[in-house]
Amino acid sequence: MKYTSEKELLEDFSEGKEEACAYIYHRYFARICLFASSFVYESKESEDIAEESFIRLWQSKRNYESIQHLKAALYQTARRLGLNYQASRQRRFNRVDTYIRLQDQNQSNQLQEIVYTETMAELYHALNKLPHKAREIVELTYLEGLSNQEVADLLNINIQTVKNQKLRALSLLRKLLSRDSFHYLMSIVFFSSKI
């Protein structure tokens, strides 16, 4: 389930190969869920929408010129499903005329959610490229909000090791993503909890 070339992936996908579908699903499932979550309240519902989007993408049997094109189709489907979801929920609770209005109001915002989702997903992807140990420590300190001492206790390692690993992760991320304006991410990841 490893693809190195976009062309190969898209060719396999258009031929209906299961590995290609699995690869695309694996790569984009979480972000489509994140996108779908802007339409619904429950994460289970977001997952349902994402699942359905992949199924429809698969069933569409279209030839996509590029991964961007395929992703766009995926977002488009997810958005349509999300709006339907909202509509049927509104219909259940509100009078008919009000739900249509609500739907109109929300529409433009949810289209822009694509920007937020894609940006976050790409950053997340970069973070995940970090070596296991460094990533684990980044996740614990940043995502879980644990202190260095707590991480050290949890992983049963020396607090100095935690600090070292964090510095190592920092320099690796710098190499991965390079240049100074990346400091936005740097600051949140590494300076939100004191080194």
């Binding site: 699995a22 699903y25 694996h26 869920c33 997952e47 958005r79 008919v96 920007v115 940006t119 940043y142």
Partner: protein
Amino acid sequence: MNLTEEELLIRISTFIVQEMKGEQRAEDRLLLKKWLSESPENQAVYKRCFDQIMQKKAFESLQEFEKNRDFEKVRSKLFVRPVSQKAFQFKRLLPYVAAACLLIAFGAVWYSNQIGLKIPAENQLSQTDRLPAKNRATVTFSDGRQFQLNELESEVFISYKGVHYDDGGAVAETQAAQFATIETPRGGIYDVVLPDGTRVKLNAATTLRYPTVFAKDKREVSVDGEAYFEVANRQNQPFIVETANQQVSVLGTHFNVNTFGDKSEIKTTLLEGKVQVKELTGGKHIVLLPGYQSLVNKGKLTSRAVDVEQELAWVDGRFNFDGKSLFEVMDDLSRWYNVDVEYRGEMPDVEFFGGTYRTSKLSTILKILKDQNLHYHFTPNGKLIIEKN
């Protein structure tokens, strides 16, 4: 399909990522600036991308969703396999515990024949394939007036005055009629909202009969075919669904009625809530518990535990073929795709596994026959012939 908007937004996001990395090209920077100047919403979302709290939130969500990523879930819906190739693995419990549902199935072999005669003329009978069911139904008032429902709408609202669509557009007025029926043909579906707010989802080849005004002490309708009910709660006015030889009483719950099965059997399945099922010839009745299905057959009333997810797959827009025989599968398909089926030669005794979406074309689903060494073709008048290889 127009993708330009989505594609543009994906591009914008790559510009933002580039900016974060400090690798933004001058022309990209210009495009991003231009996009930002277009609306305050664009600026807001851009800001959000750099917001520490929003980043953290997104990463946490992404991580959580990744944990639940399971290709098997999608695969099982995309690839229909015969049971011989793959053991039954997941009889997952239905997640929709919140909705109380009841499924009633009662037999109507004569029914499909009757309906089948009416439809072919208006439905384009292809000799190679069939499209799935569309939004089609007919309203008939007891005074004989008949109206076709719009294919572009998917549900109608019933009031004491008449029948209308979502947007208030009238279909017909009740006038002096006391009863009305809404009937979907084979290859047709429609949703109905009754005057009390009860929602009814009609499957293909189904008839719902209702009084234009409900009685004070009860709301009584009858169904032939398959329908899913979400009954509005009314304390002193029970909701009653009558079928040929069965009566189901509900005090306010969600349930589903289906009248397709073998011969004259009626199946009633309850997801949640409480209903009473009464067999009308002998008068015996039972109270169904969630997850159980009652069976009325030749005057006998029994009940058993069932896989509710399978029973309600159609409400979700899915076919679920788990453990079904060739004839059961084809019976379902014949109603959904409005096609008559003829078997040539002896058919193998097989069980199917898996399922797919009801939006699929018939030919996509018929691939399952290949694995059973069966093949099919359509006759010039649109009949589906199934033969052994």
